[in-house]
């Protein structure tokens, strides 16, 4: 399904309204961001952040699908998100300048976009050889788990808890892993 730029903008506008944000008050910048989002949606099937390299693998890119996982903490800290599509009221009204926002996405996740085609890596290693520290970290991260928000009970199944609870806005620290064993029939 293809979206027009207008649809992409309307979706972003609706999302901004829901969360109390604004879309950046610069027509040229906004148009550029919308075009980038639309290209990514046509290319990958989901609107991943136009300012980040996507892998094309949904499971790797989930955290950078707009609105990305990092938007809420970035708007809270800097007044705008990484690509600067969403801004707070002060920036929208021109009371504050649009700042640059450092990348909050962990480097291990960014690096995945470069390695998507070769992941999972073929088992060239001997069976008993432990993986290198870097690899181990990546393996751990790739396993989705169940997390619940201790404040509102929201449950999510993903690699790591969200930065901010999408329901009650509790911080990441309020999430706890639900440890459970799932038995599959063989």
């Amino acid at each position: 399904m293809t979206h027009t730029i207008e649809q992409t903008r309307k979706r972003a506008e609706a999302d901004a309204k829901t969360f109390g944000y604004f879309l950046v008050n610069d027509a040229e910048l906004l148009q550029g961001l919308m075009e980038g989002l639309k290209i990514n949606e046509d290319r990958y099937g989901y609107p991943s952040c136009p300012c980040r390299l996507a892998s094309g693998e949904f499971s790797f890119d989930r955290d950078i699908i707009c609105p990305c996982d990092y938007r809420d903490p970035d708007v809270a800290e800097y007044g705008t998100c990484y690509c600067r599509l969403y801004v707070n009221k002060d920036i929208y009204e021109g009371k504050k300048e649009l700042p640059s926002v450092p990348e909050r996405r962990p480097i291990a996740k960014q690096a995945r976009a470069f390695q998507a085609a070769s992941t999972p890596k073929p088992a060239q290693k001997k069976e008993n050889e432990p993986p290198a520290a870097e690899e181990r970290e990546e393996l751990v991260e790739l396993i989705p788990k169940l997390w619940y928000c201790k404040q509102c009970g929201y449950v999510v199944f993903r690699e790591d808890p969200p930065y901010v609870c999408p329901i009650c806005k509790a911080k990441k620290e309020m999430f706890t892993e639900i440890k459970t064993k799932v038995k599959f029939f063989s």
Binding site: G36, C51, E103, A113
Partner: protein, 94 residues
């Protein structure tokens, strides 16, 4: 790797950009350099093959850059992350 070259009068620095074809800040950086007649080369990383992407990742990280776009490398050593007019001005003596 599909490296594009933009010619300009101002060519006393080697300027190389790693960009994304979808990124509006990358486009602004290119436009800023064009407006200042700076000669530069760039590659749109999202349009590269997987093999080239991996090479690019290593190159950027070896030079101490982060994997953010645009990444501008001046004279093979100075790395500027993002569209930073102030840093570009300083590095290119504009």
């Amino acid at each position: 790797m599909n490296i594009s070259k933009v010619t300009g009068k101002y060519n006393n620095h080697k300027v190389f950009l790693y960009t994304l074809s979808t990124c509006v800040w990358c486009k602004m950086t290119k436009q800023y350099l064009k407006d200042n007649s700076v000669e530069f080369e760039y590659v749109d990383v999202d349009l590269c093959t997987e093999e080239d992407k991996e090479k690019i990742r290593r190159t950027i990280q070896d030079k101490g850059g982060s994997l953010s776009y645009p990444t501008t490398i001046v004279d093979d050593k100075k790395v500027i992350t993002g569209f930073r007019k102030d840093l570009l001005k300083e590095a290119l003596e504009l």
